[in-house]
Amino acid sequence: MNMAQPLIQVHDLAQSFADRTIFSHVNFSIPQGAMVSLVGANGSGKTTLTRILLGILKPTSGTVQTDGGGHLTVGYVPQFRNLDRDYPLSVRSFVQLNQIARPWPWHTAAEKRALTHILTETRLTGLAKTPLGMTSGGEKQRAYLAQALVNDPRLLILDEPTASLDVAVKHELIGLVRELNQKQGLTVLFVTHDLPMAREYTDRYLLLQGGQMTTGPASALRDDLIAD
């Protein structure tokens, strides 16, 4: 893992919708193996920037360069997923949905190993056969995390996954991601408006405010940086 080599390099990115500018002149890079937080108040453009990085939204101007230049596999844990109590798939089946290298129903031995491995890493082995609809909020988030990681992405984006969780569960989830980051060199972008969490678990911050981006070491994140 070459820490100096950035996984993603963003040059002079700008995005506007109709005549409303969300942000402009955004420059930053995400080094390989780093855990970086993207912070900012609600409406500051965090989601828009995330969508650009995911390749769902084409920026108004500017470029996103990825290491190797090609398509980057990204795992994504979204903020909302409205699965009701009747959601029928087991945790294991839900995680398996993202194994889409082949179209037909049966999975190869390698795919099964990868599935078992990620269920272990996310401490879901005991819940593998439980219907996802019957699990707790924190367990659901771990299942979303496992699904995002099951095909070994180079970047993991967590989009405010802690918004609806209580404090202990929040720390358990992000602590687990930090562990994967430090143990396996997984590159992570943690989108949040929770500054203490960003300070505790990430290496660097990217702050979107007033259409501009500033960056720095996470330890320098002060609570008064964001005016809500």
Partner: protein, 265 residues
Amino acid sequence: MFQLEFMCNAWVASTFIALTCGVIGVFVIARNLSFLAHTLSEIGFAGASFGVFTGLAPLDGMLLFTMISAVAVGEMSTEQSRREAAIAAISSLFMGLGILFLSLANKSASYATNILFGSIIGISVGEVWQLVGLSLFMLAVMFFAYRYLAFDSFDGIGARVQHLPKHLLSVLFLLLLAISVSISAQIVGSLLVFVLLTLPASSARYLVHTVPRMLLVSVGLALVGVWGGLALGYYTNWPVTFFIATIEVVVYLATLLYARVTQGD
């Protein structure tokens, strides 16, 4: 009862109908498309009467109408919120057209009854082969799109992030649904195709928790319904469709009860 040729035809046809509906039903339920499945069967009725009016085979009329409207609904309603209204509009138009074509074709009311409620006597060997061919084609397409359809149907948000071609998958699925509705309407009738497309799959959700197992259970319950319905219909002379509907509803209520007891809610 297998000495009668029309009964053999009906058994073969029903078996493939159960297979088709059981498989596609799992995805209909996961994608929340029960209402659309019902609408497509009404459109099938219009298509069959159009066939009668123009001299096409009823099945060809149904395929034509359901496939065109499946694509139309898919294009009109990419947003979930608009879908219901789009479906309601298309459904009203086609029921009206169905009545118009039947009246223009000057066919008796019993013909309409056959299309709406199904008939096991009306199906010929040629039609059985067409049905089997279409059913196998549908299952083959499902096989080669299986994981993409499963991901998109059971976790639309995850599928979007992985850049799955959601629109293409949606149109493909609607076309497969249109074929399933058309082939099934011949035996069970266009008003009750809905039963086979939704109830076995809904029951399966409460019993098993992986997609392949849901497919197996859903097909199994659909088979129990059509085989049971045919046998009971043969011995009692009551409508087959009545028995199919009753069996599927009873099974569904039983699984609901089972889920309540085992999950304590």
